[in-house]
């Protein structure tokens, strides 16, 4: 029995959550192999081979793998699958898009978004936006599993010396054409892995007012999050959304500003270590999960917050 990890990367670097998925894979079985599919992705393959939990890397390259299209990736993975009992990937948009396509080809019922490995066939996963946890046991011989990255620590990233083997590329799927990707570039920490997240909601009232959030985030070296309401209203782009259908974050400190705390938002942040809520509605549900709640008008509180932060001289960037 060995486990096949599907690496997520950008042809140059591994995406950080590949390390979390590697940890989950190693908890299922010590014999973890990783497949990296891309175009000119040698450096990323090399980095993958340096993860000590990976015993072997299979690198598959072809021009039609450049943009990570699931329709191209799935057949290549299915071909490899016969040697493995488990296929593992992160439950982010890459894995969510890809894994079910693999699972259906293998006639396997996928287990999505696990937060704990109980045994090689039994897993814990949140359902109903994290308002219930289900323990599930899969009886399929081949198990397709996506993991919630924030529920697993990243593995060590150096010291490994796995062999890199070339795998065979599959045919191109001609009915899907990649057009473009618009990535929002930022110098701030990534939302999914940041130690501190400052999030704004509908209470921010405009995209302009988000600069109040930006100031605080810059001061704290934090990532910027948002509720769905704020994204829907166009205050900020979709890659900032935290919640059931956005990103799940587990920072040391989550500061929710002008966010009422719908079930769907709480699903994405309530596992944060310390939660602060600033909201003028004292009855807002966000206060039910906040360690520290401040009932105040955010437009008064945020400038004061900046002032107090400036008084502290020990803030680490």
């Amino acid at each position: 029995m060995s486990v096949l990890l599907i690496a997520e990367h950008n042809n140059k670097d591994l995406r950080p959550f590949t390390l979390n998925a590697a940890t989950a894979a190693s908890q299922i079985d010590a014999d973890v192999h990783a497949v990296i599919i891309g175009q000119n992705s040698e450096t990323a393959a090399k980095k993958l081979s340096e993860l000590p939990v990976i015993k072997k890397v299979i690198s598959i390259e072809a021009p039609h793998y450049e943009n990570f299209t699931a329709e191209n990736f799935a057949p290549a993975i299915v071909k490899l699958a016969e040697n493995y009992s488990h296929i593992i990937c992160s439950a982010n948009t890459f894995g969510k898009n890809l894994m079910p396509r693999v699972a259906a080809h293998l006639d396997t019922s996928q287990v999505s978004d696990i937060i704990k490995v109980i045994s090689p066939d039994t897993f814990l996963r949140p359902i109903y936006a994290g308002n219930a946890f289900a323990t599930v046991k899969t009886n399929d011989t081949k198990k397709c599993i996506t993991i919630r990255p924030t529920s697993f620590e990243p593995c060590e990233s150096s010291g490994g010396t796995a062999t890199i083997e070339k795998g065979q590329a599959g045919e191109e799927f001609s009915n899907t054409k990649f057009i473009k990707r618009e990535e929002v570039k930022s110098d701030r920490p990534e939302l999914g892995t940041a130690r501190i997240v400052v999030s704004g909601g509908r209470g921010m009232q405009s995209g302009d007012n988000f600069k109040l959030i930006t100031e605080v985030a810059d001061k704290l070296g934090a990532a910027i999050g948002a509720s769905r309401a704020a994204v829907d209203a166009g205050y900020i782009s979709n890659d900032h959304q935290v919640g059931q259908t956005g990103k799940v974050v587990v920072p040391d400190l989550y500061i929710a500003i002008g966010i009422s705390g719908a079930i769907q938002h709480l699903a994405g942040m309530k596992e944060s270590k310390v939660i602060v809520a600033i909201n003028k509605d004292g009855e807002a549900p966000i206060f039910s999960v906040a360690d520290y709640g401040l009932e105040a008008d955010l437009f008064e509180a945020l400038p004061q917050f900046m002032e107090e932060l400036n008084k502290l001289n020990t803030i680490q960037k």
Binding site: T93, D113, N139
Partner: protein
């Protein structure tokens, strides 16, 4: 062009769910049920495409027990032309649902299949992708914008890093994000009219596919509760607490 839209009946998104004491699942008796929210976006998009003269027929399909039919009826009230209800009892996994819809696609021959990107009950996010695999059709998941072209769709997808645009040739599957559009409400006259629209009922046993669950749900439990927090009086106190008590600054 014909569009098949899949809809699922789930516990309403506003309901705070309760876990059954025996750990066998969540309480669904006497709980408000609705159409899975992004499935409403899928219907809305199909209706908009038809209104723009680019589609001729919309078929709404659901798979489930008797009452699941309410979701098809609602789809008919906002603009679907015909309904299909595949009747099943018991637990249904996304793989089974995709196999069922696959059978219906063979019969109905739609050009496009739309559905929500994820059901808010089991949070699996699988059915659309699985169906595309079974049909070997292109898939555009997490769609926040769709442009209908001659023989293809140009779809903007919401991904973790931002936005991605793909062009997929018809026939194709699209799974819809909540930001794709603003679902309309059914007007009273349309609700009345929808009652006269046909809903074809099909017993799943007649489709000749195995839908036995592969994954056993051993236990459902409440997540660990957070311990109650405190309210602070002002910003200065908040910052002091964060620094000295929580030690996160």
């Amino acid at each position: 062009m014909k569009i098949l839209v899949a809809v699922k009946r789930v516990i309403d998104y506003n309901v705070q769910i309760r876990v059954k004491e025996d750990g066998s699942g969540v309480v669904t008796d006497n709980v408000k049920m609705s159409t899975n929210p992004p499935d409403d976006n899928a219907i809305e998009e199909a209706v908009k495409i038809k209104e723009a003269g680019k589609a001729t027929e919309i078929v709404a399909i659901t798979v489930g027990a008797e009452k699941a039919q309410e979701t098809v009826r609602k789809a008919l009230a906002v603009g679907a032309d015909k309904g299909i209800h595949v009747k099943t009892e018991g637990v249904l996994e996304p793989l089974a649902v995709s196999k069922i819809i696959n059978k219906i696609v063979e019969k109905e021959k739609p050009d496009l299949v739309f559905m929500g990107k994820q059901a808010i009950d089991d949070d699996c996010n699988q059915t659309g992708q699985m169906l595309s695999a079974l049909l070997n059709w292109p898939q555009a998941t997490f769609a926040s914008n769709i442009e209908v072209k001659e023989k293809s769709l140009e779809v903007t997808r919401e991904i973790d890093e931002g936005l991605e645009t793909v062009e997929i040739n018809i026939p194709a599957i699209v799974t819809c994000d909540l930001r794709l559009n603003e679902p309309r409400y059914a007007s009273l006259p349309n609700i009345m009219k929808a009652k006269k629209k046909p809903i074809e009922e099909i017993n799943v046993s007649d489709l000749g596919i195995d839908i036995t669950p592969r994954v056993q749900q051993l236990k459902v439990e409440e997540p660990p509760k957070r311990k109650a927090g405190i309210k602070v009086a002002n910003v200065a106190e908040l910052v002091q607490k964060l620094k000295n008590e929580a030690k996160v600054l």
